[in-house]
């Protein structure tokens, strides 16, 4: 049930944003997140549940490099 897909915000109008999912565009509700155009969000059942932070992925890389 918690399947979610990441997408990039193209436009924002009130609580709705147009999001690009790798070429497919869809309107998504963004009432639960503070976001701006260009941000990546994780989308579950029509709602953005959280903003994504690609920079933080490097923390994991750091963990692995120590191995």
């Amino acid at each position: 049930m918690c399947l979610a897909i990441p997408g990039k915000i193209l436009k924002i109008k009130g609580e709705t944003a147009e999001i690009d999912f790798n070429g497919i565009r869809k309107e998504v509700n963004i009432a639960m997140v503070d976001v701006a155009i260009g941000d990546f969000v994780m989308v579950h059942a029509g709602f953005a549940i959280e903003k994504m932070d690609m920079d933080l992925a490097s923390e994991i890389q750091g963990y692995l490099d120590k191995k």
Binding site: M1, M32, A45, I49, E50, D53, I60, K67
Partner: protein, 346 residues
């Protein structure tokens, strides 16, 4: 992010070898169970490492009586809207799908905004609100838009406490849910003295989390680590949690398999009682609950959900209980342990 799978697998193997004793690691999220099966991760595990599924499929842990209430409302002529994966779950009387076949007005929605739009035309429509923190925020939003909801939402950490309190469930570490954690954060897990890693959903992300769990076990640590840093933050998503607490308050809840767990559920606050099916249809729901006749079944969903037995050990699995003829919720949801085992385990 590209992780080196060979390196991860080697490290998992080395750690498991050094630990030596048999280990059971439990994934707490149904989407993880699905991903583990899809990527064949169980077959990659060393002999002494066993992955077991926990109560992380929200459809599976929904109590039978909640299904009965929704079926009862639908049969009484009230339009209802549900997420698709609840349609086939057997109730004591029948499933929502059977109710629909009998002419009840049951609609499937992919997202709750569709139910909000539908309720403009179908006055009095009831949405079946269920799921963990990932979906609760959207239900809260919809209630604020005026949607009537029958609430079976649950919160996750009390289920973890219940699992840990049951000494029969011998688990060496938890793979904590990814998207639930994006809302509730990771700090909340620090109360549990067991190795825990929040995992992402791709194959490499899950292998990484398993590797981290084994490293913790080897080093005798019981900490909370995050292997899904691109999404999950220590404090989660406070905006979503604020929305949830505006609309819901904590209550006791019944879980299939686990029974009643104190303070593990949510109910709609009095402020929004006009959107609460328990208030709007109070008499009808009371009548439905009174008339429930518990159906005897040999279905072992309850034990499967706690990782006490595997799907294959249930006498119904694969014989009477199949994808086309599910006898329990774990066979219905694509994230249910039995459904996953049926599709990938052969």
């Amino acid at each position: 992010m590209k992780l080196d799978k060979q390196k991860l697998l080697q490290s998992i193997k080395d750690n498991a070898n050094q630990i030596g004793r048999p280990l059971r690691l439990m994934e707490l999220c149904g989407t993880h169970s699905q991903s583990i099966a899809q990527h064949g991760i169980k077959s990659l595990m060393p002999k002494n490492v066993k992955l077991v599924s926990g109560p992380g499929c929200p459809v599976c842990v929904t109590d039978q009586t909640d299904i009965d209430v929704m079926v009862g409302l639908a049969l009484a002529g009230i339009p209802v809207a549900v997420y698709g994966d609840t349609m086939q779950v057997p109730g004591n009387l029948m499933s929502l799908e059977e109710a629909k076949r009998q002419g009840a007005d049951v609609s499937i929605v992919y997202d709750i905004t569709e139910a909000v739009a539908m309720s403009q035309e179908k006055r009095g429509l009831v949405f079946f609100g269920l799921g963990f923190e990932t979906t609760t925020g959207m239900t809260a939003w919809a209630i604020q838009q005026g949607l009537i909801v029958y609430c079976a939402h649950k919160i996750f950490p009390p289920a973890m406490s219940a699992l840990l309190a049951n000494k029969k469930i011998k688990v060496g570490g938890f793979l904590n849910p990814g998207h639930v954690s994006s809302i509730i954060g990771t700090k909340v897990y620090e109360q549990f003295k067991i190795p825990q890693v929040v995992a992402g959903f791709d194959g490499e992300g899950i292998l990484l989390a398993i590797e981290m769990l084994l490293t913790q076990i080897l080093e005798n640590k019981t900490i909370v680590q995050n292997a899904y840093t691109s999404l999950v933050k220590k404090d989660g998503n406070p905006k979503a949690r604020k929305l949830i607490s505006e609309v819901f308050e904590i209550s006791d809840a019944r879980w299939r398999g686990l029974g009643e767990i104190k303070k593990s559920g949510l109910k709609i606050r009095k402020k929004y009682k006009k959107q609460d099916a328990e208030f709007v249809y109070a008499n009808l729901i009371k009548k439905i609950r009174k008339e429930i006749k518990p159906k005897l079944s040999a279905c072992k969903c309850g034990l499967v959900l706690q990782g006490l037995i595997e799907s294959k050990e249930c006498p119904l699995f694969g014989k009477v209980c199949t994808l086309d003829n599910p006898q329990g919720a774990c066979m219905v949801s694509v994230e249910g342990s039995c459904n996953v085992e049926y599709r990938y385990g052969k």
